[in-house]
Amino acid sequence: MQYLPFVVVAWILSVGLYGIVTARHLVQQIMCLIVVQSSTYVLLLGVGYVTGAVAPYYSDIPVHTSAVDPVVQALALTDVVVEAAVTALLLAFAIQAHKRFGTLDPHELVELRG
């Protein structure tokens, strides 16, 4: 149990990378990139977790209650925004690429090589 979250992180990262390498459709490749990134959320939050602690919100609990690390949560939030931004940009590229190449197979999106 102690290391299960981290094993899951490695697993998500591996399947995501596998997806990127084998994808034959750009939009699917972008989704696999999202999966790769999701491994970082799990890692961040897993690293900052404290057994038996509550969420870091002190609205209705005493100030000295033990809470999990708020910093990793802030980092994960930033990470989510980055994900949204990069994905939106990649999708815009994909739309234009489809107009120019007539396909979204990464193996055929090849204008310059060598």
């Binding site: 897993g46 925004v81 234009q96």
Partner: protein, 254 residues
Amino acid sequence: MTPALRRGMFFAGLAGFVAFYLWGLAGLPGFGRYPGPYGFIINRIAVGQTNATGVVSAVNFEYRGFDTVGEEFILFAAAAGVATVLRHLRGEQEGGRDEASPEASVHATSDAIKLSSLLFVGPAVLMGWFLASHAQTSPAGGFQGGVLLATAFALIYLSGEFVTFRRLSPGTAVDAAGAVGAAGFAAIGLTAVILGFPYLYNFLPLGTKPGAVSSSGTIALISFFVGIEVGAAFILIIAELVEQKLLVSGRGAR
């Protein structure tokens, strides 16, 4: 690279990399045993220092506020990038806007979907607003609120009212809103500089009681601007994609 070679190389590499990665992860203190000190210190001091009971928001907008400035501008740059890449190019005509009514393009929308989408617009806007203005007390904030606001606009589109959608979100206004949101955050930081404090210093009165809506000084204000910028950026992105789907025809320059 042949597919077989690629697969072989990938799996060989992946096996090595994952073994290596797991070896590193095994050096962590174990799940649930976060050693501190950063988070624990913040948890101890945040409420007293900022009067915000949502410590994550305090970290996002105060202790690590500059990260969030960068984050907002990542989203801003991405929206500008989407608009750049999807701008109307020479040789691409807009078909459909005038000849056929835009509704015709989404004729598949059934009345049930239309009605239910429209019914959800109000609550979505309300929720977005609520989330954006309660960063200091609850697990919400400008970001989540902004996305929800944008979703409300997406619902309008889903209901088939694309013309309404465009009327509510004309390009320049959304551009400007996004820019104002992003700049507002950076400018609040700069105001502190002008007042003689370090950048992003929380110079507003913190309020008297932790957790009140008007508490926490600049945190609530920043969260509000973040909400505007995120909402505008997402609306811009959605609008660009929708426009691509509906209006632009032609094969482009080549």
